[in-house]
């Protein structure tokens, strides 16, 4: 066996192990979600069993869970809309050569993206209580901007930086105003980047727990909270918890499969290359 072949085999072995390690917990939870309580905790674990759909039926009929699911959907939609509405013009402006302190601004954006979410919950709690934004999806989407907006600006700036500046100049010579150049040249060229950024934003919002826990109570509870709710005071409904968890990752999964090409294409386009 040649050296190159051995190296290939080794890298495949590592990939298979890594793939299995990351998919195993999901398979396990799928297993629990399809088993009776007795089967789920049988020792040794039962690999062959008769699947039951009771847990899914229960979760999908649960008004609290459905509400959480829809709230997360709206929060993701609203969060992305806000982020792009502000982030795109901001990134476009930051991409211009004559912005004083551009490097500092970009560094701050990245830093604020990395701050732990919970940092914002306590000061904003009082503010939201007073302003009526507490326990609203709009309020949530607003707070999500603390990480969504800097990330969006950072990503879009990187994608815009990949557009040759000569195109900007050529459009200027043709009489286009800045906003026309943004709309007709930069946005179409950065479209895969927008898609990739939106997907990453959505994943982050969808999985967010800390802020939702602190700033919602009932009306605006998100899907992560709805999943956690199956962990009752006295007992944990493992079957329903697992079925809810699996249901909550479904949209992201379907989305990821459908948009796989855009994600990879967008990511390898510039920003995170």
């Amino acid at each position: 066996m040649t050296r190159a072949r051995r190296a290939t085999l080794l890298s495949y072995a590592i990939l298979i192990i890594a793939g299995f390690a990351s998919i195993f917990p999901i398979l396990w939870i799928i297993g629990i979600s399809l088993k009776t309580q007795a089967d789920a905790f049988a020792m040794p674990p039962k690999l062959v069993f008769v699947p039951i759909w009771d847990h899914y039926a229960k979760v999908w009929a649960d008004a609290t869970f459905i509400k959480g699911f829809l709230n997360s959907l709206f929060a993701a939609l609203l969060g992305n809309l806000m982020a792009f509405a502000i982030g795109i013009p901001a990134a476009f402006a930051l991409n211009q050569k004559r912005v004083p302190g551009r490097a500092t601004i970009l560094a701050w954006l990245l830093l604020s993206y990395m701050l732990p979410e919970f940092l914002f919950v306590i000061p904003i709690y009082g503010l939201f209580q007073a302003s009526g934004l507490y326990d609203t999806v709009f309020g949530l989407a607003l707070v999500y901007q603390t990480f969504t907006l800097p990330f969006t600006i950072w990503m879009m700036r990187a994608f815009f930086a990949d557009v040759p500046f000569a195109l900007y100049e050529a459009a200027r010579l043709e009489g286009a105003k800045s906003w026309q150049i943004l709309l007709r040249v930069y946005l179409p060229m950065a479209a895969p980047g927008i898609a990739a950024t939106a997907i990453l934003n959505t994943i982050r919002i969808w999985n967010e727990l800390a802020i939702a826990l602190g700033l919602t109570f009932d009306k605006a509870q998100t899907v992560t909270l709805a999943v956690a709710a199956y962990r009752g005071y006295a007992a944990i409904d493992w079957g329903a918890l697992s079925a809810a968890a699996i249901t909550s990752i479904l949209p992201m999964l379907i989305f990821a499969v459908l948009a796989q090409r855009q994600i990879v294409g967008g990511l390898s386009l510039g920003a995170v290359k």
Partner: protein, 359 residues
């Protein structure tokens, strides 16, 4: 009326001066080539005409009107970029119609004008394609067509041929010159290729970088013949012409200089100097007849045989000299001892301190 006029123009990037004291007039309908080594400010000067580089001092006029601070779109110019700067997300037709659309022309009018100009440059069959699906030469034509559509008074070109291969470059060179003749518009053309400059321009502006210690960028402004036959200074003498002009510093003795056994009388302006820089182009340097003792001794170090002519590099006491001769003569062999003779009618003299031409 002059198409473009620079009057004592200075351009700085931050604190760094890139263009200083530039005065130059492009007459109406003239084809002017800006040529010089990398970093001499050619692109910056061109971009200042377009409004893409800010002018810090002096005046720049287009069609007699001061345009230092005018909006780029209002300058009666069109520019062809080195990278062509075509919009990759648009078809050729959309690229061509972009400016018209921005200016709010009706759709039917845009389509008609685009079709017209596409026919002129031979792109009619490619209107629906994106730039990515075109060859380099076709992209170049799209860029040209976009410029033509604007019907500008002045066309600006920034090294438009540098992305093409050598063979195609020659063809496009002829095409642009023909295009200039047909259009009758003024053109300012940037290149660092002095062959391009010599063959295309009505006039050539030879520029030098300020970073190399020059007081101003413009070294000489004249027709190709003037620049080639009467270089105003050592910089131009060395820059224009391939192979380069032979240049040697010789001591002046009693109003004459010696080139081996050959004696040359200097004009009065040079006779009083201690030393003088003498230049002669390779095609004017000759090999003396075999057995002759005239001129300077040298040995053949390198031969470039181009078929119709040969280019010899000769090692001499005055340093390596280049000689160019038609192939009708006998080709000397490597290492052979020869004697070189200057053609006194084609000697260029320069002041060794100021580096300016002496007549």
């Amino acid at each position: 009326m002059a198409a473009v006029e620079f009057q004592n123009v200075g351009i700085r990037f931050g604190e760094v001066p890139v263009v200083r004291d530039l005065s130059l007039i492009v007459e109406d309908g003239e084809f002017v080539v800006l040529v010089g080594p990398s970093g001499c400010g050619k692109s910056t000067i061109l971009r200042s005409i377009a409004g893409l580089a800010a002018i810090n001092e002096g005046d720049m006029r287009i069609g007699g009107e001061r345009m230092n601070d005018a909006d780029p779109a209002a300058r009666d110019i069109a520019m062809v970029f080195q990278s062509y700067a075509l919009f990759p997300n648009m078809t050729v037709a959309q690229n061509l119609g972009f400016g018209l659309k921005i200016r709010g022309e009706a759709r039917a009018g845009i389509a008609r004008k685009v079709a017209e100009v596409a026919a002129v440059v031979g792109l009619s069959d490619h209107l629906h394609k994106r730039p990515g699906a075109l060859s380099g030469g076709q992209r170049q034509r799209v860029a040209l067509a976009r410029a033509i559509l604007r019907r500008p008074g002045v066309f600006l070109f920034d090294e438009p041929l540098s992305n093409l291969d050598a063979e195609f470059r020659t063809a496009m060179r002829a095409e642009i010159v023909r295009f200039h003749r047909n259009q009758g518009a003024s053109m300012v053309y940037v290149t660092h290729d002095q062959t391009e400059a010599m063959t295309m321009g009505d006039k050539i502006a030879v520029l030098a970088p300020l970073a190399a210690g020059h007081k101003a960028n413009l070294m000489q402004y004249g027709t190709p013949d003037e620049v080639y036959n009467r270089p105003a200074n050592l910089f131009v003498a060395r820059f224009i012409g391939t192979p380069r002009m032979n240049v040697m510093t010789l001591p002046v003795d009693g109003g004459t200089v010696r080139f081996g056994s050959q004696t040359l009388a200097l004009p009065p302006a040079a006779a009083h100097l201690g030393k003088v820089v003498l230049g002669q182009r390779p095609e004017h340097l000759r090999l003396a007849a075999t057995g002759s003792e005239s001129g300077l001794a040298g040995s053949v170090e390198h031969i470039e045989n181009l078929g119709h002519e040969m280019i010899l590099t000769l090692a001499t006491d005055l340093g390596p000299l280049i000689l160019r001769e038609a192939r009708s003569a006998k080709v000397p062999s490597l290492g052979q001892q020869v004697r070189l003779v200057l053609d006194p009618d084609h000697v260029h003299l320069f002041d060794p301190v100021s580096e300016q031409r002496i007549e």
